[in-house]
Structure formats: structure tokens, C-alpha cells
């Protein structure tokens, strides 16, 4: 349909599904890529019925970096837009003690997402068009004791996206970085977050949709997060290191 299909990597996440729905409502066909695609059958049916578009789920595991090229070869056509929502928060105290668990979080938030978008970037560059959206995090703007493994991986992803954007700017391939801030999803279920700083998945989805249309580069979903992170980043390290935020 109009505007080509949208591939959502991490399509079973709350943010991924919300983004898929937002694009489907605009008439885009949807591909949801997730580790357990069978569980997305009802969501695909729902997206298809509500919006009269085609919606399918595909098996994809961002940690299987050797399988990325064959996954992309298996797509019927190269999508117009790819949104990567792959990520895991992890349990920081555990990650400090368990290097394998920490490696898993770093790979799921940085290595996997970066490499699949890198592979897609090459194909988009060859085609001469496409939009790549990486959902990163405000946690990547400055490392904090509370979640620095996750934050460091997101910082790496943010830097990777920035480099990709720089490389492809003259190639008609747009790369967008999204920093949602707190989002009321299963990922943070049980955490108490300030309501003014917490967006709904649908809000993230609408922000992404709008930003893709305007070809924005870096998007903080709630604008207040831009200010919050500027303040956090401006605190001198010798004070910052003593803070508990």
C-alpha cells in the first residue's frame, strides 16, 4: 500500500506493536519480527482487520548476528521503513555480578540492533532510499549507577545510529534516533515512574510516525526529556558521581 511496508524488529514489544499499529493506520503493510512469531498471530490479525493492510509475523533473533543476512534475503521485498525496538532492561545488581548476563544485555541493546540496522543500511544505500529508526534511550545520554550496563549499550547504539546517519545523509537514506524516556510498558512494570515523564506506547508511536514524516534526526518523545537530559549531562562529574538519580 501507500508508502511501502514497515518492518518492526522487536515486534512483540509494547512499543513495537504500538508503532506497527500507527503505521498500519496510515495504510502501510506491516512485518513484525520477533523471537516467537506464533504469539503475534492475534496481533497480526487485529492489525490487518482494523486497517485493511497486510500484517505478518516473522522469526527474528537480534542475537543471531550470523543469521542477519539470510533473514534479510528471506524478505519478500525490502521494506521502505525499518523500526528497531529490540532491547532488554536487565537487572542492574545482577548484571554487576554476572558477566554473561551483562554481555547478554549489551548484545541485545547494542550489538544486535546495530548490526541488523547496519546490514539494512547497506541494502537501503544500494536501493537509494529508506528510513531506519532506532529506538535507543535517554539512559544512553549519561551513565548512572542505577542502569549503566543498559545505558552504556544504548549509548553505543546511539553513537552507531549517529554515525550511520552521517554516512548515509547524502544517500537519501534517513536514520532517526528515538529516545522515549519512561514508557508505560511491560519492561518497566512494577517501577514507579513520574507521570509527567512517562509516555504511553501509543504516544511514542505517534511521535515516531510524525518524526519519520518530518525526517527528524533525534527525537525525545516528551520534549521535557530533552531538558532533563541536558541538565543531567551538564552536571560536573565530581558532583555527579555522588548523586543518586
Amino acid at each position: 500500500m501507500s508508502g511501502g511496508s514497515v518492518l518492526v524488529l522487536g515486534g512483540s514489544s509494547d512499543i513495537g506493536l504500538a508503532i506497527a499499529r500507527a503505521f498500519a493506520a496510515e495504510g502501510h503493510d506491516i512485518l513484525l519480527a520477533a523471537r516467537r512469531p506464533a504469539e503475534l498471530a492475534a496481533d497480526c490479525a487485529d492489525i490487518g482487520l482494523r486497517h485493511g493492510v497486510k500484517a505478518r509475523a516473522l522469526r527474528f533473533d537480534a542475537l543471531e548476528i550470523e543469521a542477519v543476512e539470510s533473514f534479510l534475503d528471506g524478505l519478500e521485498e525490502l521494506p521502505a521503513i525499518v523500526v528497531c525496538c529490540v532491547g532488554v532492561l536487565g537487572d542492574q545488581p545482577l548484571l554487576e555480578q554476572d558477566p554473561l548476563a551483562a554481555a547478554g544485555v549489551i548484545r541485545a541493546n547494542f550489538e544486535g540492533p546495530a548490526l541488523v540496522l547496519g546490514a539494512l543500511a547497506n541494502r537501503f544505500e544500494a536501493r537509494g532510499s529508506g528510513v531506519l529508526v532506532g529506538v535507543s534511550s535517554v539512559a544512553g545520554d549519561r551513565g548512572r549507577a542505577r542502569n549503566y550496563v543498559y545505558g552504556a549499550a544504548k549509548a553505543g547504539f546511539t553513537a552507531f545510529l549517529s554515525g550511520l546517519r552521517n554516512r548515509l545523509a547524502s544517500r537519501n537514506v534517513h536514520v532517526m534516533t528515538v529516545k522515549p524516556g519512561f514508557v508505560a510498558t511491560r519492561m518497566i512494570a512494577g517501577l514507579k515512574t513520574p507521570p509527567a515523564l512517562t509516555a504511553l506506547p501509543q504516544e511514542v508511536a505517534m511521535a515516531v510516525l510524525k518524526a519519520v514524516r518530518r525526517r527528524r534526526d533525534v527525537v525525545y518523545v516528551r520534549r521535557v526529556w530533552w531538558l532533563v537530559m541536558r541538565v543531567i549531562c551538564a552536571i560536573p562529574e565530581r558532583f555527579f558521581k555522588r548523586l543518586n538519580i
Binding site: A42, D43, A45, D46, L49, R50, H51, G52, R186
Partner: protein
């Protein structure tokens, strides 16, 4: 958190859970903390969807699962909104076969209340169009229920107010339509005699409903505007509309940001409103095209309209009087209201068709629905209306109820005993309960 029905009376502190996957829902039941009640959009008026110990918000289950474009059969999860069904399927030529007065209700909630619409005299209640449903039973088991499979459980779940189990999914047959427009005819009736005669002679009309001036007395008792409606065929639309027959003018929505002072709705303001509304109806064109939104859901345009009734909220009185005694029964109800001077501007009279069911509200006769602000005077008035209803063999709509006495329900409805027995024997009584079922010992 604080929860209430649409009437904002009562407001009760409830533990609210909002599971998103079926396993989590089953786990909530398995915890065995006592009975729970499922809740959709909370559009029942009183305490049908309240349980302080645990109320389960089902709106997380809102996916459409399948649609057959030949038969119009839609399969969906119970938390799906009627509004979403219309948004997705009206552009493809399908409309809900039965609709209540708001589209912000869930599929499961509509089935639990076995809602009726302006076409009840022709098509019956929503249950007629439900092909099957999946019910989560007291032991966490999931049963497919239909007219063939588990037929008794199916029939008792229609109108069972969520007290037979939790409705998970259902299949609803939609109605094919050619346009999003209704041909509305307005018949002005000077009294109750007139409007009831007009209802009887309009039995062929697909939709019929009357707004009734409940403060008019004497010769004008029961003066009404009877609205008849038919789905417009495409060829009946003017050319400028026929090109895009499902696209209707978008409306600006309004919202009442806070509760108005309770005294604002008094006998003078309501009397003035009713008189103006009646006169406006008399001058209006007798036949015109109305879009589906204005026709079926005029009140949806004013979000939080319950705030018109003040901070204490509103109660709705809705009963049905069987055909044989409807003329005297409705007249007595109207006289009682007019004598008390406690009118409501949303007074609705509707002819219902015949219906046999285990626990649903409708039966052949006339139903009268009125809103009142909550206060001691109106609550006392409603008890007098209860007595008039009983005298005339009528019964009450549980989806509107917040205050009926157990004895009144028992006297009005011989089916109560059988419903209680079923709940006891099936085990549903231990697993599913609302404040309403407690009050009425269901």
C-alpha cells in the same frame, strides 16, 4: 483505586487489575482470593462492574481475531470497543446489529448486559447475533459456548452480568449496510395514548424510540417525539453524499470538565428544556437524513455528560412493563414523576419485542428510562417507581441499577431463583461477584 459506574454512584475503592495476556488473567483467578468481577468501559450505571476485593479491567484484551466478509461474522476479544468495530467495519459496509446509546462499551460488557437498541422490537437483543463466546469458568477452565456447545451456559451468560464467568472472546454477526446514514422520521405525539398507538403502528420500522416529556401532566401526559429510522440505501442519498456513502461529517466533541452544581437541574430548568425540545421537534422536518453518529450516539459528543448531574452523580431508573398493563403502568410512572416534579431531560420510551431468556432484561412491552441526580428525594421517588413497576408486572434493568432492593428484584422477576441455583451449582457464585450481585444476593 476509586471506581464507579457511569452514574458516579456509588464510588468505591477497588483493587483493579489489568491483565494483558490470558495466562495472567487465569493466574488472578487461581490466587483464590475470593470472587472477582470483570469490567469493561464501566458504562453500566451503578455497581455491576465493581468489586472492592478485585475488579478485572478487560480492556487489555481488545484484538479483532477474524472476519468473514461473506457472513459478516467478527471474532474478537471481549475488551474490544464497539467504537472500534464501527471505525473498522462501517467503511466496509457493516454495522453493529444492535447498539446501546453509547459506542464506548466493550463487546464483553454488551454481551453480559445483553444490551438492546432501538431495533429491539424487530431484531431482539444483542444475544441474537452472538454466534459463540469463550468463557473463563470458576476453575480457570475455558469453555466454548454457543447454541450447540454448552448451550445453557451460553444462554445464561447472555444477560448474566458477568456472574457466570469471564467472557474472553466472542463472535458477533454484523449487519450489512449501504451507507452511514439513517433516514429519520419524527412523529409528534401530544400524549401517551398517541405515542403508544404510533409505536404499535410503526412495528415495521427498523428503529423506533421516543423522547418523552416526563414533566407534562394532565392532557399532555406522555407527550412525545417518536423517532423512526431506517438505514438509508445508497440510491436514497443525494449525489454529493452518495459518492462516499460511509463518510459522514466529523463532529466537534465537547467535554464537561467538572461536575455542575447539583441544583442546576431542577424542575424549572428541566421543564423549560423539555418544553423547548418538544416545540423544536414539532417544527423540525418530519423526515431527514441523519448520520449514524448523531442518530445512535448523540450523547457521545459530550464526554462526561454525567457531570451535568452534580458531584453526587446520577441514578437511572429503567423498567419494562409488559404489553397488557403498559398503558396504565407507564401512565402511573409518569404521573408519579410529574407529581414529584423531579423530571429528567433524558426520558426515553421504547417498545420492546418478545424475548425469552434466562436473565436478560427485555420482554415484550414498553420500557421507560429516566436519569435523576442522586439525592434523598429522588432515591425515595425511585422506590415509589419500583412499587408501580411491581404492581404492573414489570421488571428492572440491572445494567442501569445502583440501588434496587433484593426483595424488589425477587418480586419482579421469577427467574432470580433459577439464576442463583445455577450460580451455586456451577461454582460461579464462589468465583464471580459484584457489589450488585452481593446487594441482590445473586
Amino acid at each position: 483505586m476509586k471506581l464507579s459506574g457511569w452514574g458516579q454512584f456509588p464510588v468505591v475503592s477497588c483493587t483493579l487489575e489489568r491483565p494483558r495476556v490470558q495466562a495472567d488473567l487465569q493466574a488472578l483467578l487461581a490466587r483464590g482470593h475470593g470472587p472477582v468481577i470483570a469490567r469493561g468501559m464501566g458504562r453500566s450505571y451503578g455497581d455491576s462492574a465493581l468489586n472492592p476485593a478485585m475488579t478485572i479491567d478487560m480492556t487489555g484484551f481488545c484484538r479483532m481475531l477474524a472476519f468473514d466478509p461473506v457472513t459478516g461474522l467478527l471474532e474478537a476479544e471481549a475488551g474490544l470497543l464497539l467504537a472500534d468495530i464501527i471505525a473498522a467495519f462501517l467503511p466496509r459496509g457493516w454495522f453493529p446489529p444492535v447498539t446501546p446509546g453509547t459506542r464506548f462499551v466493550t463487546l464483553g460488557g454488551m454481551i453480559a448486559a445483553d444490551v438492546h437498541g432501538k431495533n429491539h422490537h424487530r431484531h431482539g437483543s444483542l444475544g441474537n447475533f452472538v454466534e459463540w463466546l469463550d468463557l473463563l469458568g470458576p476453575k480457570g477452565e475455558i469453555l466454548r459456548c454457543s447454541r450447540q456447545e454448552n448451550p445453557e451456559l451460553f444462554a445464561r451468560t447472555l444477560g448474566g452480568m458477568g456472574l457466570t464467568g469471564i467472557i474472553l472472546r466472542a463472535a458477533l454477526r454484523l449487519l450489512p449496510v449501504e451507507t452511514g446514514w439513517i433516514r429519520q422520521r419524527t412523529l409528534v405525539q401530544p400524549d401517551l395514548e398517541g405515542v403508544m398507538a404510533a409505536f404499535e403502528s410503526s412495528q415495521d420500522a427498523t428503529y423506533s424510540v421516543a423522547w418523552i416529556d416526563c414533566l407534562a401532566r394532565g392532557n399532555a401526559l406522555g407527550r412525545s417525539l417518536l423517532f423512526l429510522g431506517e438505514h438509508a440505501r445508497r440510491r436514497e442519498l443525494p449525489d454529493r453524499l452518495a459518492a462516499q456513502p460511509f463518510s459522514v461529517p466529523s463532529r466537534r466533541g465537547w467535554s464537561l470538565p467538572f461536575a455542575l452544581p447539583a441544583g442546576l437541574l431542577n424542575r424549572y430548568s428541566v421543564r423549560a428544556f423539555n418544553a423547548l425540545y418538544y416545540q423544536a421537534g414539532r417544527r423540525a422536518l418530519t423526515e431527514r437524513l441523519v448520520d449514524w453518529e448523531r442518530y445512535f450516539y448523540p450523547l457521545d459528543a459530550l464526554a462526561h455528560w454525567h457531570r451535568l448531574y452534580g458531584r453526587r452523580g446520577l441514578v437511572q431508573f429503567q423498567c419494562v412493563i409488559p404489553l397488557a398493563s403498559a398503558r396504565t403502568g407507564i401512565a402511573r410512572l409518569l404521573e408519579t414523576i410529574a407529581d414529584a416534579g423531579r423530571g429528567s431531560f433524558l426520558a426515553v420510551l421504547k417498545r420492546l419485542g418478545a424475548q425469552e431468556s434466562f436473565f436478560s432484561f427485555p420482554m415484550e412491552g414498553y420500557t421507560l428510562a429516566l436519569d435523576f441526580p442522586v439525592n434523598d428525594t429522588t432515591l425515595a421517588l425511585m422506590q415509589r417507581l419500583d412499587a408501580v413497576t411491581l404492581e404492573h408486572g414489570g421488571r428492572f434493568y440491572l445494567a442501569k441499577d445502583a440501588r434496587l432492593a433484593r426483595e424488589t428484584l425477587e418480586a419482579s422477576d421469577a427467574r432470580v431463583g433459577s439464576f442463583r441455583d445455577f450460580r451455586r451449582i456451577s461454582g460461579a457464585g464462589q468465583s464471580f461477584a459484584s457489589l450488585q450481585s452481593g446487594r441482590l444476593s445473586l
